[in-house]
Symmetry: none
Subunit: 127 residues, 4 copies
DNA sequence: GTGGTCTAGACCACC
DNA sequence: GTGGTCTAGACCACG
């Protein structure tokens, strides 16, 4: 797990992102156990609470289950995005696309990138 | 200008975004003067410092020129995104795409959205 | 017996609840023997201690008798709720009612639900 | 605000409950400002983080807005309970009702209590 | 062993 | 001033 400690993105948020990416890429499988809070905290070199917060956020997003017996595991199923959340995503992307558009990034650049990322996601067991 | 005060996105950042969107959509033209810090602050209902910070960030991004005599104006030319910044955008998008992919958004959903936004950007004077 | 391992409600507590529900519904009769700690632990797939704790709590609540010779049996009589415990229940419900009230659940919704549950409890031998 | 420090209910949870009750009773009005995290922490005599967690949970429930400019305020509108959450409430109540039913609380006792609480909630401006 | 809560104290960004 | 993040270290409940 790669963490940029001098980023303005909170560490717990970066941890979440890495796990979400790992899931999309198939590196992390449904039902798979994640390291314990303390283990990952040590591995990443941060405080226990920071990982705790990350796991908690992933729980709220429906990505992981927390079971006192076995720790934290990737959920078997995630549940589709509700419309409101999807709209929020799109709204954010609109601004970001506007920004890169203004500064010379063509539509085909963007489409190529989407294509590339979705390819790296496909090819694992479907939801 | 629409500001969401209960958003966790800083207000100055929201101001920037609105202006960037306005430029992409053609609502704001190159060379056009923006409201003075004071005026915009009053209009939006926020502190002077907040607008000042927004304008400053836009200057750093190359979007506006600040001239003490004529105030803040949209730049005539923006300068293409450097590779490093572009990579940062792509990296962010990768995580966000991973997230929506995990939660059931198909590639065609995303492509349609990109298409729609780029259409709303085209059809104004080119850079 | 249905246990939700990813719930934040302790497993022993869930076991208690299932048994209490079974009694109210008449599925479990007064004097009836419950499975041994060992058997139930195996059936539910949890640690011996967990079932032991559940049975112990039920004993403290007056729901079961524990006799080393004959195992655990449902008590013949439960004894009414003392005022203090009843007040605690009411206090909890007040908050929960406040919550659903705030979020649009009408009184008649609640009354219908109470009605329905009490119906599912009636129709068995009285205490 | 009354907090029971020796309760097994977490302090942050108790804080949430008090505020939810206050809203239902009309003691706290929509749009009203709540004490700052630090202020309330001092008032209640707990750590700043404990209150922070309480406010955060209320934010997730849609009860409050967090605005960096003015602190934390009661939301203007709460949004109705979704069906899934409502079912969870009912499921909990079923067990609790079973418990009090087993131990001699009659349906009319319960209905009276519901009636009494809903009366204490009504009589303020409607949602 | 696991996660959950709480404390104490620090620093930061935003306004 | 506000909330947000992070650290360090403690204690608890559950299994």
């Amino acid at each position: 797990m790669i963490i940029d400690y001098k980023s303005d993105v909170p560490i717990y948020e970066q941890v979440c992102r890495e796990i979400i990416l790992g899931i999309a890429r198939g590196d992390l499988q449904r039902g798979q156990a994640l390291p314990s809070v303390r283990k990952l905290a040590e591995e990443v070199g941060v405080n226990l609470h920071t990982i705790h917060k990350a796991y908690n956020q992933l729980k709220d997003m429906g990505y992981v289950n927390v079971d006192r017996r076995v720790g934290v595991t990737i959920a078997d199923q995630f549940g589709d995005l509700d419309e409101k959340t999807k709209e929020n995503f799109y709204k954010d992307w609109e601004v970001q696309l506007a920004d890169v558009y203004n500064r010379g990034v063509t539509k085909s650049d963007v489409l190529d990138m989407i294509e590339k990322f979705y390819e790296s996601f496909e090819g694992r067991e479907k939801r």
